[in-house]
Symmetry: C2
Subunit: 775 residues, 2 copies
Amino acid sequence: MDFKKMLANDRVKPYLLKARYGIEKESHRVDQSGNLAKTDHPKSITLKDDHPYIQRDFSETQMELITPVTETVEDLFNYLAAIHDVAYRSMDDEMLWPLSMPPQLPEDEEDIVIAKLENVENVRYRQFLSQSYGRRKQMVSGIHFNFEFGKELVQALFRSQSEIEDYQQFKAEMYLKVTRNYLHYRWFMTYFYGASPQSEKNFFEDDSLNETVRSIRASKYGYANSDDVQVSYSSIRNYILDLASMVQRGLLSEEKEFYAPVRLRGGRHVSDLEDHGVQYIELRNIDLNPFERHGISEEQVEFLHLFLLYLLWKDEGDHCDEWVKMGDSYNEIVALEHPLARTQFEVEADKMIDEMEQLVEILDLPVSDMLFVHLREMLMDPSKTLAGKLYKENEKSSQSLVATLIAKENYKKSWEKPYQLAGFTDMELSTQILMFDAIQQGVQIEILDRQAQFLKLKLNDHIEYVKNGNMTSKDNYVSTLIMENKTVTKKILHQHGFRVPKGEEFQTIDQALQSYHLFSTKPFVVKPKTTNYGLGISIFKDGAKEEDYLKALTLAFKEDHSVIVEEFMKGTEYRFFVLNDQVHAVLLRIPANVKGDGKHTIEELVIEKNRDPLRGRDHRTPLETIQLGELENLMLKGQGYQMDSILEKDVIVYLRENSNISTGGDSIDVTDLIPDDYKKIAVDAVSALGVKICGIDLIIEDTEVPATDKNAYGIIEANFNPSMYMHVYPYKGKSRRLTMHIIQYLFPELLQSQDSKFIKLGVPLAKREFTMVPC
Amino acid sequence: MDFKKMLANDRVKPYLLKARYGIEKESHRVDQSGNLAKTDHPKSITLKDDHPYIQRDFSETQMELITPVTETVEDLFNYLAAIHDVAYRSMDDEMLWPLSMPPQLPEDEEDIVIAKLENVENVRYRQFLSQSYGRRKQMVSGIHFNFEFGKELVQALFRSQSEIEDYQQFKAEMYLKVTRNYLHYRWFMTYFYGASPQSEKNFFEDDSLNETVRSIRASKYGYANSDDVQVSYSSIRNYILDLASMVQRGLLSEEKEFYAPVRLRGGRHVSDLEDHGVQYIELRNIDLNPFERHGISEEQVEFLHLFLLYLLWKDEGDHCDEWVKMGDSYNEIVALEHPLARTQFEVEADKMIDEMEQLVEILDLPVSDMLFVHLREMLMDPSKTLAGKLYKENEKSSQSLVATLIAKENYKKSWEKPYQLAGFTDMELSTQILMFDAIQQGVQIEILDRQAQFLKLKLNDHIEYVKNGNMTSKDNYVSTLIMENKTVTKKILHQHGFRVPKGEEFQTIDQALQSYHLFSTKPFVVKPKTTNYGLGISIFKDGAKEEDYLKALTLAFKEDHSVIVEEFMKGTEYRFFVLNDQVHAVLLRIPANVKGDGKHTIEELVIEKNRDPLRGRDHRTPLETIQLGELENLMLKGQGYQMDSILEKDVIVYLRENSNISTGGDSIDVTDLIPDDYKKIAVDAVSALGVKICGIDLIIEDTEVPATDKNAYGIIEANFNPSMYMHVYPYKGKSRRLTMHIIQYLFPELLQSQDSKFIKLGVPLAKREFTMVPC
C-alpha cells in the first residue's frame, strides 16, 4: 500500500492529526535527602491494584502514574500534571525521583521491597520477575506512551485504498508497518531523548559495568528479555503465534513479560488482537526526562506523534523481521554511545529530520518549527540532548545530588498553591478540589463540559454526573427549584414549623405601600426577590418612616419585578453545610477587615493581609484579596478613618458591610462550636425541603440559648450548589473536606472498601491558629 | 369588653380585614331540561366521601362544592370558579340547578336517591334523616360560609385588653358575641339575600303550604330542628353541655344534626371546642344567589365580612339566650314576608346600614361605597332584593323555566374555553390543566407562587411539589442540568450508543474556522449553544463555502459565546413525550400554514384559521394565532405569494420556517402512527440520561425503516419541562391527557383506589378529524 499517496489524499488530510494519547509514568518515592523511601505507598490514595491513576509498579516505592486516554496533547498534560499534584500531596513529605535510573539501591537486593499488592497473583508475578531478572533491573523507571491514530483518520485512509477490503486487517497492517519502522528507527529517538547516562550505587552488582552512555535503560543493561525471545512482526497471526510459542517454551512466563520497546494493543490478551484488531500501540522505551516536572515535555509528545506519522509514511525494508532486527543493533549502538559524543548515525539522522520536515510541508501539518530547530541543535551538539545535558550537570556535583535538587524543586512547586489542581486551574475551585479527591480515591473523571464544570465520575460500572462540584443526582429537581425561590422556601419551612422572617411579596410599589403599617414600627428589610451581591437591599433596624420605606422600595424594584418586605432578624448569620442529613461544616463569614498593630496604616495592613497565599482573584483561590475601592473608602470614612490612618493596636476595622467571601470577607470554621440543637434545626429544615446537599443560613442571636427557645433562630435562606472551598480552606479554623464527603456520598461503596480514617487533606492547614472573631 | 374601643386601637387597625374564608355550596345536577338527574355522581371525579372539592350531600344528585380555606376573597372566588369548571366538565351534558329550592321532585319521596357513599355509616345517617325529616326537605340547597378572624387581628385585640387573661377564652368570647348577634340580627341578611321565594312541585306534600315568601329555606319550612332543640350561647361550656344533653335526650341523633344558622367550629367534635378553642364560625343560612354563576357574589362576601365585624363591634342585649331567641322570631317574620313587600324592620335596617357605614368610616376600612348604595336600594325597593328579583322573573314564565335558562347559560360558559381553568387563567396552560385534573382526582392544591407556577399537591399525608406543570421530585437535579447542556446531552447519548449529530463546540470564530474542512462538504448546521426562538441558526444542506461558513459563525456568536457546528440530519422532527419509561405522546409540529380553497386570499385564510377557539395569544391557549408580520411576508415572497394572493385549492403555503407552536405552528398527534421501535429508542435515550419526565426530539427520515438501521434516526435534543398542553389539545389527532399521567405518576396510590378507565378528558376533541399532513 502506498501510504505516501494515501496520506496526501484530500479526504484524509482533515484528520491527519486526530489521535488519542495516554501516558504511564513510573518513578520512585524518595525522602527529602533523595534516599529510596522506606514507607509504604501512601494510604490516603485508595489502595487497589487497578487504581486508574496511581498504582505501584514493581516495588513498593515505584509509583506509576497513569493518565486517562485523551484526544488532545493539552488534555494529556493536564491530567499528567493533576495526577502528579495528587501523588505529591498524598505523600508525607516525600518526593518523586526524576530519573529513569533509580537512586542508590540497598546493598542486598532482597531489601528492595516488592509492591504490597492486594492480589496475590500480582505479588507472585513480581517474585518470579525478581528471580528471573533480579530486583535491581526492575527498579528502572520510564514512560510508556500509548498512541492510537484517530478513528476518522484510519477510516479515511481505509476508504482511500482498495487493496484491503477488511477494515480490521487494514488497521492491523497500518500499525504493523509503524511498529516495524519504529523498531528499526528507534535509535533516532534514543539519541535525542535517551536520558539514563549513569547509574547509582548498587545498581550494577559488578561496578565495572558502570560506563557512561546515552541510555542504560534503552541498552542491553536495561531490562530486556533474553536474546532467545524473538517475535515476528510480519502479521498479527505470526505475532500472536510467536508469543504463544515463547510462553509455551517457557522463555516467557506469560505474555506481559514480553518487554518489547513497542507493543501492539487491543483487547485484554494478545490473542484478542486477532478478533478485536489492533486498537493502539504502546511505546515503552522512553526515559524519564529529568528536566520536565512530569517526566516528558509537550514537544516530545509532538515529536512522537509526528515520528509515528512519518514511520507510517516512510517506506520500509523488504524482509521485515530482519528489518526489525537491524533496528535492535542500531539502537544498541546509539544507546551505548557516550552522551557527549556525536552519533555514528549523524548523516542518517540528518536525512530523517529533513524528511520529517518535508512531510510536514507536504501534508500541511501545523507542527511547530521549533521542534526541528531543537532536533538539529541536538544533532549538532550532543550536550543538548537529554543525556548530554544531564551528564554535564552531573559532572558539576553528582547525579544523585542533581536529581535530589530537581526532585525538591518539583516538590516545592506542587505544594505552592495546595488548593489548586494543576492542569485544571481555570476551573472552579470546588471542582478542582473534588477532582483532586476523585483522583486520589481512584474514581475516574471525565470532563464533559469544562466551562460548565460538568464532570462524569465513574467507579467500576457506577456512573455519577456532577456539575459545579455538588449538583448531583442525589437531589431532586423540584427541591432545587424550591430553594431558588425565596418565597416558596419560606412558605414550606414555615409550614413545617421552622422560624422564618415574616414577610410579604409585592409586585408593585403601590401594593407594598398599602402594607406599610404592617412593618412600620418593627425591624424590617426590603429586598428584591432575586438579588446578586446584595444589590437593592435596605435594612431598617428600628422601623422606618413612610418616605424611607418608599425609597427602599424604589431601589429594590430596580433590581427585580418582585420585592420582598420582611421582618429583620437580629443576630449572627451562620452557614450550615448539610449533606445527607448531617451537618458537615458551619462557617461564620466576616466582612473584609484588618486588625491594627499601632504601627501600620490601614492600607499597609490590607496589603499585608492580601499576601496570604489563600487570597487571590476571581474565585480561583479560597479567599479573595481585599479591595481598596470607593466602597471601602466610604466605609472607612463612616468610621472616621482613612487609608493612611494608623490603626491602634488590636482594633478591628471593617472595610465592607457585607460578609461575602467574594468581597474579601474572612471565612471562619465554627463547626465544633455550634451546639447540636442548632445543627438539628439545620438538618431538619433541609430535610423538610427534601434536599440532600444544601447550604442553609441561620441567624442566631445567642448560641448559648437553646434552639427550642422562641425566636432563638431564623432561617434566612437555603442554597443549592453551596460553595465548598470556603469550608475546605477557611481563613481560620479547621478545614472541612466537603468534596471528599460528596464523593463518598455519591459512591458509598468507597467507604466499604477502605479504612476511611486515612482520608486526609492535601493541605496542612493545621498551622493556622483558630480564634473566634467577634462580629 | 369594649370591642368598640378595642377595634379602634391603632395596633389593631392594620389587621382589621385579615381573615380566612371557605365556602361549601350545594346544588343539584339536572338534565338539559331542568329535570333532576337520574344518573350517578360523575365517575370521572374520584369517588370518595371526603373528596376535598366535590362531594355529594344528602342525595346522589346533590353536588357539594367545597373551596379550600383562603386568605383573600379573590382566592376564594378563584377556587369557587375553578371547582365549578371541574364539576361541569366532569358531567355528561348535565347542569347545576341554580336555586336553593330543588327542581320538581319525584311524586314518591322514596324515589329520591340517597347519596351512594362509600362509608356505610354515612349512608345510614342519611337514611335516618329521611325518616326524621322526610327526604324532600333534605333536597334544599344553600351555601355555608366559613369565616375566621385573622390570627394577627385576634392577637392584637387580645393584647389591647386586660380583662381576659387566657387567649383561648378571649377568642371564644369574641366568636360567641358575634354568633349571638348574628343569630339576633340574621333577619337583616334574610331580607337582602334570601332567595327561595317559591318551591317546585312535590316539595310540599301539602300544596296549600306553598306560599310566596322571601326565603322558604330560612323559614320554618326549610330544614330546621324541632322547637325542643334549644342551645345556650352564653358560654362554650353551656353550648357543649346543651348539645350533649340534646343528643342524650334523643332530640338529636348526633351533634351534626344540629341545624343552627351558625355553628361554632374548632376540632372534630363539638366537645373539642373546650380544648382547642373556637377556630372559626360557619354561617349556614345563605340561599343560593340565582344570578351568580357560582351561587354567591363577591359583594355578598364583602357584606358578610363587614357584617361580622359590625356584629363584633355592636353592643348586644343583656340576657343572651333571650337575645338569640328574639332573633329567631324576627328572622321568621322577615323570611315569610312577600318578596315584593317592604319589610316590617325597615327603620331598624336603615339604622343598621347607617351604623355599618359609620363603622367603615371610624375604622377606615377599604369597603366599596357601592355595597351601601346597593343595600339602600334594596331596602327602598324590595324588587331589587334577590327574592324580589327572582320572583319578578318567575312571574314572566315560571321559576322552573327561569332556573333552567340560567343553568343553561352557566353550562355554556363553563364549556366556552374548555382548556382553561376559571380563576386561574393567568397561569400557564399546562399548569391550569394539571390543576383541573388534581381537583377532579381529589388531590389538594395549594399555590405556593402563582407567578412562578409553583404548586403544592397533597393527597392524605403525601405531599408533592410541582413547578411549571412537570418539574417534580421524580427527576434528579443533575439530569435536568444535563438536558440544559446540549454538548453534554449529546456526549452522554453518544456514549450510550445513540445516534446524535456529530459536531464540535467552539469558543471563538478562529477556532471554528480551523475545523472548516471537517464539515465543508457535508450537510451541517451552525448554531449558538443556547438559543431562543431559533435565533442565530444557519443550515447548510449541501455543505458551504468558507465565506458562508464565516457569516454563519458571526451570526451565531452574536447569540452566545459558545457555538456548535454539527452534522445536519435530514428527516422529520418528532417530539416524544416520555414519562417514567413510557412514551405517552408523539407530536409532529408543522410551521404556521394555510391551505387554499381557490377562492380566498392568504390573508383571509389566516383570519379564518385564527378563528379556532384553540388559538390565542401568549401561551394561554393551546395554539397561537398566526401572525402576518414581516417574517411571514418575507416567507410568502420567497414562495412567490403575497398576502392578497388567492391560494389555489388544496395548496398549502407555509408562513414560517420554524415549526414552533408559539409562532402559529400546528400540533398534530401521531402517537398511534409511530412504530414501537422508535418509541423504544426514545424511552432508552431518556433512561440513559437518567430522566423521568422528558420531551425528546428525534429526527426520522422514514418511520417505515427499522430504527435499528444505520442513520435511521438522530436525537436532536432532550427537554426538561416539555410543554404538555400541545399534546392535550393538539390541532389535529387524539388528545393525550399528560397532566393526568403526571398526577398519577406523582400519586400512584390514586390508581390503586379507582378504576382508571373513568379518567376522561374535560374537552370533547372527538369532533376534530385527524389527517396526517405531509411535512
